[in-house]
């Protein structure tokens, strides 16, 4: 079924959009098994939309998404959920659901139509809660948790699906810097432990460069740059992608590029900040 060289997830000639607006047209992207690919770009560049199309949360207008070489349009959605977990952007938990009850939903694609959770289901739920450090508040209501705790609970739901492929849409939004790093560190550890393939949409270029081993910069639905972080994070590409003049330095601790933004590159209406 799967050849060893086949990418875990591919977009071939992908076209996707809302209403009459086409966000991306004829996009080609291959995600190799075991890699961490970060999709970055300015607001409205289409990175979230592309991730939603990759994870069949949104239908593709044209082209195909291949999961292990098979078109997702021909796969049952339950079967997709057994191979690919996706955490949508900023999901709202229902009022009064406990952590365990939410994580149990991750077993939905594995369960029979009727009947209680199996021993394997319960084990997967425990496992996911232990890995994410959420087991201690298993019976707390998710809507009473802090943002960082909540994000780990959502991650536990995705892990309970026991997939090799994990897609995360801006998993660090609304989190403070400590919790941002905590969530990304957790994903990095899980990836190492389970050999996961990870695709994330990230806002922060520094985070993307630090955690992902490949970055794809999107601009108006097209791929502007695609490569290892140190190839992609350059002053030239930052200017083209974000319209920002920036200095790119190397993080003395991690050895990955960090961006120091200075001024918007082409904004005549914004007064120049006088630097002393």
């Amino acid at each position: 079924m799967t050849t060893p060289s086949a990418p875990a997830l591919s977009a071939i000639g992908l076209g996707v959009g809302y209403g009459s607006r086409l966000v991306a047209a004829d996009l080609h992207l291959h995600v190799d098994a075991g890699s961490w690919v970060a999709l970055v770009g300015r607001n409205g560049c289409g990175k979230s939309t592309v991730l939603r199309a990759l994870s069949r949360l949104m239908p593709a207008r044209s082209g195909q998404i291949l999961l292990d070489g098979q078109a997702i349009s021909s796969l049952p959605t339950r079967e997709i959920a057994r191979r690919m977990a996706v955490l949508p952007q900023g999901p709202q938990p229902p009022a009064g659901i406990t952590v365990r009850e939410l994580v149990e939903l991750g077993r939905h694609p594995h369960r029979a139509l009727l009947g209680p959770l199996s021993a394997a289901d319960r084990e997967a739920v425990e496992d996911a809660m232990n890995l994410t450090g959420t087991a201690e508040y298993a019976h707390r209501y998710v809507d009473r948790l802090s943002g960082g705790e909540r994000q780990r609970v959502w991650l536990a739901l995705a892990l309970a699906q026991q997939t090799d492929l994990l897609l995360l849409d801006e998993p660090t939004t609304f989190l403070d810097i400590g919790h941002q790093l905590e969530v990304l560190d957790l994903v990095a550890r899980l990836r190492a432990a389970r050999g996961l393939t990870v695709v994330t949409v990230l806002h922060d270029l520094g985070h993307a460069a630090r955690y992902a081993d490949r970055m794809v910069i999107l601009d108006e639905g097209r791929i502007l740059a695609d490569g290892r972080p140190e190839q992609v994070v350059t002053p030239e590409l930052v200017r083209r992608a974000f319209g920002v003049e920036a200095t790119v330095l190397t993080d003395p601790v991690t050895g990955t590029p960090v961006v120091l933004p200075h001024t918007p590159a082409s904004s005549p209406h914004v007064p120049q900040v006088v630097r002393s």
Binding site: P94, G96, E136, H139, R144
Partner: protein
């Protein structure tokens, strides 16, 4: 009302609220935990009863049986619970007790229990899939569609209240108005819960207006139909029960089968899709089963309002919010509510002195449920606003 949910909806999770900040009245469910909430195993937010659902269902069933015995004792010839029990178990104290209890009063009691359960389940289901604590068959326009269909059918002489075809016609109306609300609410993809209820109220208003028009065209049935629209259990016989029970069994089985789907969709549209469910199919299945449940109930007891809304809110403080617990418990709560409302309606009717039994005006049961449900709805809306 004490039946309000304990959480403040989505706004409950204030960023920065640490799990250690546990309210003092919350107890630990994980036996070995220190009471002050240690890092390992924090206290449960779930109400105590959530872990003992079977026990609570048994208790609810016994409570319901007690209410039913009380209900069967009421009427122009009051009977004590002991007399009712004796008549039910085949050893009536007076021979006529059996005829009164089983022949005359039993259908009314059974209909109240069954229709109440159906409305309770429909309300709890709709609240889960729409993620809206204001959802109710009456508020979403489903009842209004059923009423309109039956009134139109009756004015053309196609159906009567005790005909086996009535629920079919009512389901048609319920589905049509439900579909209209669904289409208005989800037109364009975005699901806005508040707009959704507003659409339901709009469709209900149009439905009521059309009912009034049909009734004006054919004035002969005005009085009967009007009372039935408010919702009444007055003069229900075994004939009505024959129409209701097969319908109730089929629709309740379908609704119970849809609980898993409703739970997944309760977690949100994107999350449901992500875990491999079909949100649109689930919505259609739940709406369909709610239409079946509502139509069956409306045919026999009329458009009794608020039972679905109140039932779900009554059980949440007991068993928490999970649809797998709320929906079965809402069946008992709905049954108890309608039966209780009928006891109150019956009691008030007989408390008012009158010369003769036959010509006595009876208080519609729906008026009693509205007196309970209206203030609850108001309280919920004020709570949402805050």
């Amino acid at each position: 009302m004490t039946a309000l949910p304990q959480t403040r909806g989505r706004s409950g999770g204030v960023p920065g609220a640490l799990p250690q900040e546990v309210r003092s009245n919350e107890r630990s469910d994980l036996g070995s935990d220190p009471p002050n909430g240690s890092p390992r195993g924090l206290p449960s937010d779930l109400p105590r009863a959530a872990h003992r659902l079977t026990w609570w269902i048994t208790l609810a069933a016994l409570l319901l049986l007690g209410l039913l015995i009380l209900h069967l004792g009421m009427g122009s010839a009051p009977l004590t619970p002991a007399e009712v029990t004796a008549a039910l178990t085949g050893r009536p104290i007076e021979p006529w007790h059996r005829d009164v209890v089983i022949g005359l009063r039993m259908p009314r009691g059974l209909i109240a229990v069954t229709a109440g359960a159906m409305l309770g389940v429909a309300g709890a289901h709709l609240q889960a899939v729409t993620r809206n604590v204001l959802a109710d068959p009456g508020l979403l326009g489903v009842s209004a569609g059923a009423v309109l269909a039956v009134v139109v059918g009756a004015s053309f002489g196609l159906v009567s209240v005790s005909s086996g075809w009535t629920p079919v016609v009512a389901t048609g109306g319920a589905l049509a108005s439900g579909a209209l609300v669904y289409w208005l609410g989800w037109h364009g993809g975005a699901a806005d819960a508040t707009r959704f209820v507003l659409n339901g109220v709009l469709v209900s208003a149009i439905g009521s207006a059309l009912v009034a028009v049909v009734l004006t065209l054919d004035g002969s049935t005005f009085g009967t139909v009007l009372r039935w629209i408010v919702g009444t259990l007055h003069a229900r016989t075994w004939e009505h029960w024959q129409v209701l029970w097969p319908w109730a069994i089929v629709s309740l089985v379908i609704a119970l089968g849809a609980i898993r789907g409703a739970t997944v969709l309760w977690s949100g549209y994107d999350v449901a899709t992500a875990v491999g469910a079909h949100p649109t199919r689930i919505r259609l299945a739940v709406f369909g089963s709610a239409a079946l449940l509502t139509a069956g109930a409306v045919c026999t007891v009329g458009a009794v309002g608020f039972v679905g809304l109140v039932a779900a809110h009554l059980v949440r403080p007991l068993v928490g919010h999970h649809p797998a617990r709320v929906i079965p418990m809402a069946a008992f709560a709905g049954a108890a509510l309608l039966l209780g409302a009928d006891i109150v309606a019956n009691g008030l009717t007989f408390a008012i002195p009158g010369d003769q039994i036959g010509g006595r005006a009876s208080l519609p049961t729906g008026a009693v449920t509205a007196l309970v449900g209206g203030p609850l709805l108001l309280a919920l809306i004020l709570k949402e606003r805050r």
